[in-house]
Symmetry: D2
Subunit: 364 residues, 4 copies
């Protein structure tokens, strides 16, 4: 059997924190998902050879390479995974797609809406994925299922936050994430993009929005925080808030959905839980219940451990990759892909324009 | 001693839920605060005599009256407490002030900013109070103290919600709170006003804002929900969200303040608690701590029970009244008064204008 | 109508913290319960006249008295409420009962089982009550209702704690609660008695038990902590733990019931909430739900405020008194009364004997 | 460098759930810990060849074997990891030790105290480990550090539970864990053993105890639940409760330590958190704080992800193995080893004897 599996040699472009998380996923996915493919961690690519060799040694990449263009040109590479600063996403992804590679890319997809849409067009003929990994938190996937089962009913409110205190840490140098030339934006691309992808996934399209952005750090050319008010196409209203100056928050990526039949609430800091309020119960028994989404009969319960035994951050990447490889084998389209990420980018773009113009912006 | 106490005969205008809460406070305040005055529950006034007599009998009002103008004209009444639909606040308060009465008024103060400012001018010469009772939740008063002690540092974010599901209850008739002619607004006056008073108290003035409002119920002429983005004069940014369609929320009146030195978080549903995150601790010991604000050394700890023994909703009214009567005896000004409430109304007014015009509105 | 109400003149014996709480209940009960009686706060009795006069003035007792025997002899007193150190419960209660008074007594009822049983016999002919007030926390009363509706099924486990840190407070003098001659026991009578009353109420009789007690403070002749393992008559097993040295706990009076159909969990520190786990739900929707027991359709919801508006510690006394007065008017027996409290005392007595003998003790 | 690493070929004995978790750890440990050794997943051994082959294929074991004695005899195996029913621990471990293998064994170590002590003696000359993995939850390791830094002070109370509902699941067949001949005991070995190991680790030796056990299921020859009262050598008292009939609990492995200077509280269901109450703070700032033990400056923070990014169940095994391999390379002794597990078994043995005799049992 296993001889017949499609061989996929993977090239990792990047060697920072997120490349480490991806590397782990490439190693782990086969233990938790029945793999239709035969994955190889072929080559890791970056600028600093010493750092690369350490990463390769620790994470089992066969080779190191310092020029991503060389990677794109190799016939023996089937998959390119992009985990570098945002400014490099487009050139690598587009070259990769042109060379017929499967392209996986970190979020946010692009530096601008135009770039995102070009990228989405460029990869249309190859399998592609954007690492909006939080769709695959089991609790989030279960929220999606409950919504599809109409357990929340007609949505009234969608509320999201992504709050951390990374920007306020005086011990942290100002890395690429704080420079417009490399990151494109600040909290908008870094944090809000996750919240927007989740909202589009769970609650559908946004029709118009008003945004404010703010930079607390003097001289910073990207936003530290962003607040959005929106209308959704389904008639609900929404608010989003993302900040790197939310002292007291480590990784507070939350959503909350209030509908005619119930409520859902999620916080990434307690990512194995989903709060569900069933408004169809007898009034005296209505309350938020703190579901531990570790099975039985929860998404990915068969893949990971057993009920009551929690999973961690990295499993969201493993599940994303597992689903992607499954779709690949079945020749189905996978979501979120570049097109989905371009839709996210439209919202981010509208947010930036609204913040500058101090007006409502319609997404058509 | 007690013979020398100033005698205060109180007239309650109104006999609904909130009049009941006020009646309780008039009875109770003397048990928890050393009263410099001699309070008498003299007369309760409303339109329905049978209902009034029941209320008078249950709550110990000596007399009933169906015409509030008769009350204003009585020499033996020193205090008028207004607990009727919003449209009646102004005529009663202004007549009361003109007759030299002490005037207490439910929130929101007025039907419009103009009305609120007229009222504030009209009562200037008499002691006055607006029942923004949540300032006197011990946990909120303690938050104020921590802020004043600079334990939060420079504020970055102020976030507030007031969410309930009252509007979505199909068993509820559409009372005066859902009609513009009597209420002036919907969630804005009913819920957002509390959040704004708290914000002005804890974080200072708002300089400009963008708002959206929404009515979910067809044909309703007031807002069911409102979302605000604001700048504060102290350089922080803020968001507010109030809704009567937040299914899953009973009484979620929250605020959250993120500053350079820490975070505070409060939820009225658990009103004996205040979460405090001290960002000056060693990083590995930083976390939200759930303070049970029932003493020792907490605001009002001497007035109510003992540490670990919680207080309820009504104590916020008792503490408000206790502080007011203390200020009265010391001839000090009390807050929140009509002027404070007019400042709140300026924000509500700006919110309504912004929502209609879909533009940012500056508060000068 | 009200002329026909039975007049009840109340004498309060005691003037400490708990007498204050009772005084409040006598004042408040008429506002929240339709009273069939006409209550008067007639006289407060204690040893220290100055302290008494202050209490009388603050809480509205008409007279003060320093000899409880004089009270018992008065024809114009119908109700005697005992809120003094435990050693005085028996003489006062028994004299009161002999004089035909209605007798209310603080917990624990007695200094010993023998005393408790004598007291229970002595008061049999008069209406009587023991202030195990926590049965009337709405969340506890709702737990009782859910149990009666078989929503928990067959009980497997009953787990209770009553943990505070009062004994470890170096600023606290060693009051009567820390001396055997006045208190009879330490944490056993002070804390465990509440847990045992709750358990007998919610889960029925205890058949046998093993106990350990411990005194952390050198030279103390009462227990600082007690741990119990028990069997209940209904086939379930149980554990109890009470301590005054549980640093970190303010007032952690909890119970937890695990049954074939569900779980209940309660903590007095968050007394407006009850956690309910419904094991008959679909497995993927099973979780503890945090019920806010403030209505609708919850015990006492009609008496106090409205859904989402919490009550405090004192309401448990008000509700106890309200129910007692209702039962009195309907000539029904009230629980918990002296007989119930004597059953509690049997468990406390067995616990002390077990701890001394280091053996299991059977309650027959 | 890496050529010089000691090569360790591992044999896994067992192929059930826990063998899967161990397999994962062998794969993962090198990604998170700098490995001084060169680990190979050589052979997996069990009774059912088809099941073995599936496991080998999924988890990358090179070979399968159905006779564990054959494994012991192989010269090319350096490590034997025992993940089979309890009755087989002793023969395999002792044969392995005799053959000079490094021996790793699942908990509970043995079927009886005698067996455990024989095993501990037998393995003394080889590196050995028992998989009490919860010591390496970062939050638990941090609790240990706080205790060592005297932040809790003199312990007064140690309270532990391990509650799940596995025994009450009517859909579950009665596997080996419910049969004395294979498991030795029920909740005692399965659950209580974890709690006891943690207690010995965090709070030191137990001197005497009283226990009760109970079987809810008719005809079951092992305990479903066990309750312990204990004295510790450090003067504190403790309670333990373990049950498979605690409906409503998925994996509630908790401890709580109350000391003169503070409190610690942990629940495995939220294993990335540790509650810490600092009783040396100003009284009005004392409260439980919910530490997210994901760094910075927390145990294992350098090994796994970054602050706010949680880890899952399996990381406790990875960290245990990482520490073991580090100790092995440094030729240091590792804990918990067979001797530690024999000390746990002494407590379990005393518990069983106490439950049968209904007396206190002293551990000398």
């Amino acid at each position: 059997m296993s001889q017949r599996k499609q061989k996929l040699n993977v090239a990792m472009i990047g060697s920072g924190f997120i490349a480490r998380v991806h590397s782990n996923a490439f190693h782990q996915v086969g233990y938790f998902f029945k793999l239709p493919n035969d994955l190889h961690l072929k080559v890791i690519c970056g600028r600093d050879r010493a750092k690369l060799e350490a990463a390769a040694s620790q994470w089992g990449w066969e080779e190191v390479e310092t020029d991503w263009r060389a990677i794109v040109g190799r016939e023996d590479i089937q998959v390119i995974d992009i985990a570098v600063p945002n400014a490099l996403h487009a050139p690598i992804a587009m070259a990769g797609a042109q060379a017929g590679k499967i392209v996986l890319c970190e979020k946010p997809l692009a530096m601008s809406l135009e770039e995102a849409e070009s990228m989405a067009r460029a990869v249309r003929h190859v399998p592609n994925l954007v690492w909006f990994n939080y769709r695959r938190v089991p609790a989030v996937a279960f929220a999606k299922r409950l919504i599809e089962e109409a357990r929340i009913g007609q949505t009234f409110h969608y509320r999201a936050t992504y709050l951390n205190q990374s920007g306020n840490d005086p011990t942290k140098g100002s890395g690429w994430r704080y420079r417009r030339a490399e990151a494109g934006s600040g909290a908008i691309g870094d944090l809000l993009s996750h919240s927007v992808d989740m909202a589009l996934y769970l609650n559908g399209a946004i029709t118009d929005l008003s945004a404010m952005t703010h930079a607390f750090a003097p001289g910073r050319d990207v936003d530290d925080a962003v607040i959005l008010s929106v209308h959704f196409a389904n008639g609900s209203i929404g608010s989003f808030e993302a900040s790197r100056y939310a002292v007291g928050c480590r990784n507070r990526n939350t959503f909350e959905i209030h509908g005619s039949r119930g409520m859902l609430r999620f916080n990434l800091e307690d990512m194995n839980r989903l709060e569900f309020y069933d408004a169809t119960e007898a009034p005296n028994l209505q309350a938020g219940r703190s579901l531990m989404v570790t099975g039985p009969d929860h998404p990915y319960a068969e893949n990971f451990w057993k009920p009551g035994h929690i999973i961690g951050y990295e499993h969201t990447f493993i599940a994303t990759l597992g689903d992607f490889l499954g779709a690949l084998a079945r020749e189905e389209s996978f979501h979120p892909n570049f097109e989905d990420a371009a839709l996210v980018q439209r919202v981010l773009d509208a947010a930036e324009r609204s913040a500058v113009s101090r007006t409502w912006v319609t997404l058509n």
